[in-house]
């Protein structure tokens, strides 16, 4: 096995990204969908950090980007959870399949 480097990390992040996507596509519970989104965002963060470290260490763009992503993720999660809770209150369920009144 060779020394772990950029590409190894990219494999992890890509895999994590699609794991998150898979979760988003298959989970019927809204909160677990939100968890999948967190995985997706984290995979992106890994990317930024990895690129910053291995490819472009001359600036800290990647690092800052991931910091802001984390902040946004927090905000997004907060709003999403508020919305989900509200939805739960009106639907008595957080199954995504049950919230499909709007269609066609």
């Amino acid at each position: 096995m060779m020394e772990p480097g950029l590409y190894h990390v990219l494999i992890i992040s890509t895999a994590l990204f699609f794991i998150g996507v898979f979760g988003f596509l298959t989970r019927r519970n809204l909160i677990t969908m939100l968890m999948s989104i967190e995985l997706v965002l984290n995979s992106v963060n890994i990317n930024f950090i990895a690129f910053n470290k291995y490819a472009w260490p001359n600036k800290l763009d990647g690092l800052f980007f991931s910091i802001f992503v984390i902040a946004i993720a927090a905000a997004e999660a907060a709003v999403a959870i508020a919305i989900i809770i509200n939805l739960y209150r009106s639907h008595q369920s957080i199954d995504v399949e049950n919230a499909a009144d709007l269609k066609f």
């Binding site: 989104i37 763009d61 980007f65 999403a80 509200n86 009106s90």
Partner: protein
């Protein structure tokens, strides 16, 4: 430095000022909704007018923020849009428990859009995009007691989260491939390898998602239908307009080296979008949903103009968005008034509307004709310029498809016209007494629709800015 800062960021600063003013009022005083709304309307009008003064070119924050005449004009269009929203939906807003919160969220979203238009770096782009999205997702839930409102809100936040995940992945790849986030530095470093194409497509899907380009549009109709109508109109007009503006910059400037690639992509998506949007719009019963699909089809037309990759394209897209602000807001305004007074949102409920409410019927008719591109409304000029710009490349197949799609779109716009003017109804919508500000908003929209095309200097002004 400070001077520059104040002048260049003046539009954002004014918004911030209004925003904090509202925050203070919220915290400090109990004010009646009517007076508050009047104040907000005045502030927004001031904001709009102020947009035309002290315009300067320049950039700030080490090239993260830039502005020039065109960007200022684009911001003015958005300011005009929110001013009109504050007028048109005054009935709904007055009754809202969360008037101030609504406007705080609205203004922060608009601020996000301002930053978005002005952004010169992928970071700013991403952040302002989120700023322009997350508050709106929350606003979609402002009909707090409606199930569909929370459903719409949920759909929006989840879809946009996924979309921003994909966008971020794209940005990260671009960052990896080029080592920079700066718009002006990226083009030189693009060489069209697979990963860059992939990254571009990931990035583009975010635009596609926001602009509701098929097949990334599926959230649109549901969210539009479920949200409060003011939010829907904001989403469909202001939000789309701002994205269209930044898409112009992104494609024309940042991804200029990939021009051949994105031209094909834009053409393909434009055709699909027009067709699918039209086909779905054909069968809609709910007016909001109907307008949602019609706005999807309109986006197809915007893409026709964007494909031009020239000053003509820029000018015609900006002009079209301006026209679109008037037309679509007028349509939503009418739908909002009717929904507010009668709770009816189905097209068949509109039958016989003209008998009882001629004024709003004419406004609706003007709006729909403008959307359909019928002269002498401004929509005619808007669409014609988009198509002409698109024809610049000499791709007549594309242009013919676009032109033929206008016919399908005409069919469904006429459906509404038919219901309003021709059909009879045993239980027509009763006479609606319009709020004075709503009426003002409608008159402004109507005047805009009629005059914008005939007064050619508006377009010339935009062209002059686009160079």
């Amino acid at each position: 430095m400070l001077n520059d800062f104040l002048l260049l960021m003046k539009s954002e600063l004014v918004l911030a000022f209004i925003l904090f003013l509202l925050l203070i009022i919220k915290v400090a005083a109990e004010v009646k909704n009517e007076r508050l709304l009047a104040l907000i309307q005045i502030l927004l009008l001031g904001n709009f007018i102020y947009g035309f003064f002290f315009i300067q070119n320049g950039s700030l924050f080490g090239g993260m923020y830039t502005t020039n005449g065109l960007i200022a004009f684009q911001k003015s269009i958005l300011s005009l849009g929110i001013y009109l929203i504050s007028l048109l939906f005054s009935d709904w807003l007055k009754k809202s428990e969360h008037l101030i919160e609504f406007f705080i969220l609205l203004l922060s979203a608009v601020m996000g859009m301002f930053f978005l238009i002005s952004s010169e770096s992928l970071l700013m782009f991403y952040l302002s995009l989120e700023l322009a999205t997350i508050p709106v997702a929350a606003m979609a839930n402002f009909d707090l007691h409606k199930k569909i409102s929370s459903e719409a809100s949920m759909k929006m936040i989840l879809s946009s989260a996924l979309s921003s995940g994909v966008l971020l992945f794209g940005i990260s790849l671009i960052y990896g491939a080029t080592g920079t986030l700066n718009f002006s530095a990226i083009p030189a470093l693009l060489d069209g390898t697979g990963v860059q194409i992939l990254a571009f497509i990931f990035l583009f899907t975010a635009f596609a998602f926001k602009l509701s380009i098929v097949p990334f549009h599926l959230w649109t109709a549901d969210v539009y239908e479920g949200s409060p109508i003011a939010v829907t109109s904001f989403l469909s007009v202001i939000s789309k307009g701002s994205i269209a503006f930044i898409l112009l910059t992104t494609l024309y400037k940042v991804f200029a080296p990939m021009h051949g690639l994105w031209y094909n992509m834009v053409m393909l998506l434009s055709i699909i979008t027009m067709i699918v949007g039209n086909l779905f719009a054909l069968r809609q019963q709910n007016i909001k949903r109907f307008l949602a699909f019609s706005s999807i089809a309109q986006v197809g037309f915007i893409l026709v103009g964007i494909s031009s990759n020239s000053i003509l394209g820029t000018a015609s897209v900006v002009y079209f968005v301006l026209v679109y602000v008037f037309s679509n807001l007028a349509a939503f305004g009418v739908a909002g008034v009717i929904s507010q007074h009668s709770g009816k949102e189905r097209i068949e409920d509109y039958r016989g509307l003209y008998q009882t409410n001629p004024f709003i019927s004419w406004v609706l008719a003007l709006a729909l004709f403008s959307l359909a591109g019928i002269p002498p409304t401004a929509g005619f000029f808007g669409k014609l310029f988009l198509i002409t710009a698109g024809a610049f490349k000499g791709n007549y197949f594309f242009i013919t498809v676009a032109a033929l799609n206008m016919i399908i779109s005409l069919y469904y716009y006429l459906r509404v016209i038919r219901a309003v003017f021709m059909d009879s109804n045993e239980q027509p919508i009763g006479k609606i007494n319009l709020d004075i500000s709503t009426k003002l908003g409608m008159i402004i929209c109507g005047a805009g629709i009629v005059l914008l095309g005939l007064l050619s200097w508006v377009y010339d002004y935009i062209t002059a800015l686009s160079i």
